[in-house]
């Protein structure tokens, strides 16, 4: 490198938040036609760096140059004007508006008397055709699939003549096929001279798609190299800063059936069939993985088993006893532990303390209350014990939960669930947004719980996770479940096709469970 002026060049970027150094003297160069992968665990400083680049934060030290010209700090407008474009992990699209509206907003001067929609549509069509993206300009965003929405985000950037495109965990919400499509599009863009940075912690993608990679750890660049000269093991070690925490797999010895759903259907208030004659058995001591693109009924399945859906048809048996009118309290009593998909929305109460959140599913139990008053001493003892046992880092038992990091919140939920020694654990996306270390911790605990005799229903969109710890996998599509599949006898591509409804799980793939 170094022969031409880099398109983007960061020099000595440092950003402090109080005592914390979020970015420490970071250098980064990016050439035209280059795809750079930016890796790092949560809290490594990737997001801070991107926020500085986009002018949301101002760096304490250092400079940014685009095509040799300095970029004024702290101005999102200047960043957009200089040709920076960003595709956020959570899309910034308005669902009730059309694709063209979403792309046009803020591009024309606000003082213009009339929008030129026709010209915009023509330009979007031309871009979509050139980069092989199939999006109709007039459709409403809410009618688009996740993959299409991401294409709209990319079009939004291209429409503004973006020269440097940054994608934040672009594949987190995609099926394997959609991911392949995305990387094909990105490769096309790079070949046309764009420069791309993508942020990720999926090493497989880094190895497959990037030209160069950069690993951040504790705010510093700890490793930079051409992708061809490294391996995913090496990258993982650099990310974690040592040896990878290894998840020990222990062979499953399935016991009696714990959860049995037969021909189970449920509708929502609008009469829309969310669960459609679904059959599922979870045995004691095994982890059943549910794969699928979100919105195919997974959250309803989790809600049902944790007692939040009372209206259903079909049979619902827990540990051999039929459940007629489930309620959350009843399911907790019967030994169902719940790890919800959105920890801040339905898992924890952010403004309440660590102690209170840990007690949410047990404060009414014997020993934790006396005559309707909370028993302070046992609750404190239990909190202290769980904080230690699950290595939860927080400012203390009385700190509000919202001040904790995502990984520690998830450990807190895990502690709350496992402390009650549940017979069945419903884990919906238990490692969503967690870094390698925290993910391994969660996986290890789930495996241990199952080997001690609990049944685990693991719902995940991350196929790597399912292949790593599930004993059998079932694919959920439009409210139905495929028969169980032995992970050893299939691969991600097969599962991915079933997830998008393009293939029934063939008999050949079905495991010899019976």
């Amino acid at each position: 490198m170094g022969e031409a002026t880099p398109l983007l060049s960061l020099r000595g970027i440092t950003k402090r938040f109080g005592a914390l150094v979020a970015n420490d003297d970071i250098d980064l160069d990016l050439q035209r036609g280059e795809m750079l992968a930016l890796l790092g665990e949560n809290g490594a400083g990737k997001t801070t760096l991107m926020n500085i680049l986009f002018g949301h934060y101002t760096a304490d030290e250092g400079s940014i140059e685009i095509d040799g010209a300095p970029l004024p700090p702290g101005s999102p407008k200047a960043a957009l004007g200089a040709g920076l474009g960003m595709v956020h992990q959570h899309f910034t699209l308005a669902d009730n508006m059309s694709v063209v509206d979403n792309i046009m907003v803020g591009v024309e001067p606000l003082t213009r008397f009339r929008r030129n929609t026709a010209a915009a549509v023509a330009k979007i069509r031309a871009l979509a055709e050139r980069y092989e993206m199939d999006v109709s300009p007039y459709s409403l965003v809410k009618h688009l699939s996740v993959g299409q929405r991401q294409r709209v985000e990319i079009l939004k950037a291209l429409y503004r003549h973006t020269r440097i495109l940054i994608l934040d965990e672009p594949t987190a919400v995609l099926t394997p096929q959609e991911s392949d499509h995305l990387f094909a599009t990105l490769r096309l863009l790079v070949d046309q001279g764009l420069a791309i940075i993508f942020i990720t912690h999926k090493l497989r993608e880094v190895m497959a798609a990037s030209d160069r990679c950069l690993v951040l750890r504790h705010g510093k660049v700890v490793f930079a190299c051409r992708t061809a000269t490294t391996s995913s093991e090496q990258l993982a070690r650099r990310m974690v800063g040592g040896e990878l925490p290894e998840v020990r797999r222990i062979a499953a010895t399935p016991g009696d059936p714990l959860l049995e759903l037969g021909g189970l259907s449920a509708e929502n208030d609008h009469g829309y069939q969310l669960l459609d004659h679904l059959d599922l058995t979870v045995n004691a001591g095994e982890i059943v993985g549910i794969a699928g693109v979100s919105g195919n009924g997974q959250s309803q399945l989790a809600d049902l088993v944790s007692g939040m859906i009372a209206d259903f048809s079909g049979t619902f048996m827990l540990a051999g006893a039929p459940i007629e009118k489930p309620s959350p309290r009843q399911m907790v009593r019967r030994g169902v532990g719940r790890i919800p998909e959105d920890r801040t929305a339905t898992g924890l109460i952010g403004d309440m303390t660590v102690l209170e959140n840990l007690a949410l599913e047990s404060y009414w139990k014997r020993g934790f209350n006396r005559l309707g008053f909370l028993a302070a001493v046992p609750l404190r003892q239990r909190t202290a014990e769980l904080l230690g046992r699950f290595d939860i880092r927080c400012a203390g038992a009385d700190a509000p939960v919202r001040t904790m990091s995502g990984g520690n919140m998830q450990k807190l939920i895990l502690a709350r669930v496992l402390a009650e020694r549940p017979i069945l654990i419903v884990a919906n996306q238990p490692t969503w947004g967690l870094d390698v270390g925290a993910t391994a911790f969660v996986h290890q605990r789930l495996i241990e719980a199952s080997r001690e005799g609990a049944g685990v229903l693991l719902i995940s969109e991350d196929l790597d996770e399912l292949f790593a710890i599930a004993d059998t996998i079932q694919v959920m599509y439009q409210g139905t479940l495929s028969p169980p599949i032995d992970p050893a006898r299939t691969n991600a591509a097969e599962i991915g096709l079933a997830m998008s409804g393009q293939r029934d799980i063939s008999q050949a793939m079905i495991s010899a469970r019976d």
Partner: protein, 313 residues
């Protein structure tokens, strides 16, 4: 039947359009605020302030049109106050709005009393006279209903078209609507959510105050304490009825005003022997029924009531 005969009188329809005017300004104002994602429950108080400001301006020697402008200015100031609390500080839009309503209503009575301490009967001004638009006012029926009205009424009708045009056809309108749907989408495109929302609330509040000024400068000729009389709350319901769409807002205000005009006429006819309270109730019953029917399918702005904080999602 007498009731049906009323519907064929042009006078009835002209009264309907006249009575719809303050509601129309108020509904458009609320619609602009809500489209940007800010509920403005200050409307009732802002209309009262507009009533008082417009009337006072004219009573102390200003002319009618600058009175309307002054009312709009006062409304804009209240709007700015609401925006500072709800947009910049991110406080509860409900609580702030109710506070603004109390402040606006109480302050207008207070200022009125301070300016004219010794008055028992409300003093009068010379309000807007109906104007005849040449040619158009000679069209049978329609001319009488639409083109022989107070100039403020015609302004309101023009405002419907103007607001609809701005929202649908201009880049600024697109940015406004997008802010009410997903502020992050606007922010990521280099626009300022704070600036857009503040502007929307200020302009919307000015509309509300002009609606109030219509009451003292056109419908009546004096200021009474409490003369807004719940019209602001009706506007809030009408915005929902209209699904945040200016054209439907016109329809909604006309239907509501028609019930109001109808109850006044029916009351005057001694032949119908029902307690007058029943007729007074009719427009409100209508708005409740209409809300129940319409709100089930209304597509409200997704970011309504959600304060935007930079860097959060």
């Amino acid at each position: 039947m007498d009731l049906l005969l009323i519907l064929f009188e042009t006078g009835f329809w002209a009264a309907t359009v006249r009575m719809a005017t303050p509601l129309l300004f108020g509904t458009l104002g609320e619609l602009i605020c809500e489209r940007a994602g800010v509920l403005n429950l200050g409307i009732e108080g802002i209309m009262a302030a507009g009533c008082m400001a417009g009337w006072t301006w004219v009573y102390f020697g200003g002319d009618l049109w600058t009175g309307v402008l002054f009312a709009a200015f006062v409304g804009a100031c209240f709007g700015l106050l609401h925006a500072i609390f709800t947009v910049h500080l991110g406080l509860s839009q409900h609580v702030t709005g109710l506070g603004i309503t109390m402040l606006g209503a109480a302050l207008s009575s207070f200022v009125f009393r301070m300016l004219l301490p010794n008055i028992t009967t409300p003093p009068k001004i010379i309000p807007f006279a109906p104007v005849k638009i040449p040619v158009l006012s000679d069209i049978p029926v329609v001319g009488e209903i639409l083109f022989r009205q107070s100039p403020m009424t015609m302004l309101a009708l023009v405002a419907v078209v103007a607001v609809a045009y701005v929202l649908k056809k201009t880049p600024a309108g697109l940015a406004l609507c997008m802010t009410g749907e997903n502020p992050s989408a606007v922010e990521s495109q280099g626009l300022s959510v704070f600036a857009i929302r503040t502007t929307a609330v200020v302009i919307g509040s000015a509309f509300m105050a002009v609606g109030g000024a219509f009451l003292t400068l056109s419908a009546f000729d004096a200021f009474y304490i409490g003369m807004v009389n719940g019209r602001g709350w009706i506007c809030i319901a009408l915005v929902v009825f209209a699904s945040w769409n200016p054209g439907k807002a016109l329809v909604g205000t006309l239907i509501f005003a028609a019930f109001d005009a109808l109850q006044m006429r029916v009351q005057q006819q001694t032949a119908v022997a029902l307690p007058y309270q029943f007729y007074l109730m009719m427009p409100y019953i209508f708005s409740i029924v209409a809300l129940i029917v319409m709100s089930r399918r209304s597509a409200y702005p997704k970011a309504l009531l959600v304060p935007f904080r930079k860097g959060e999602r």
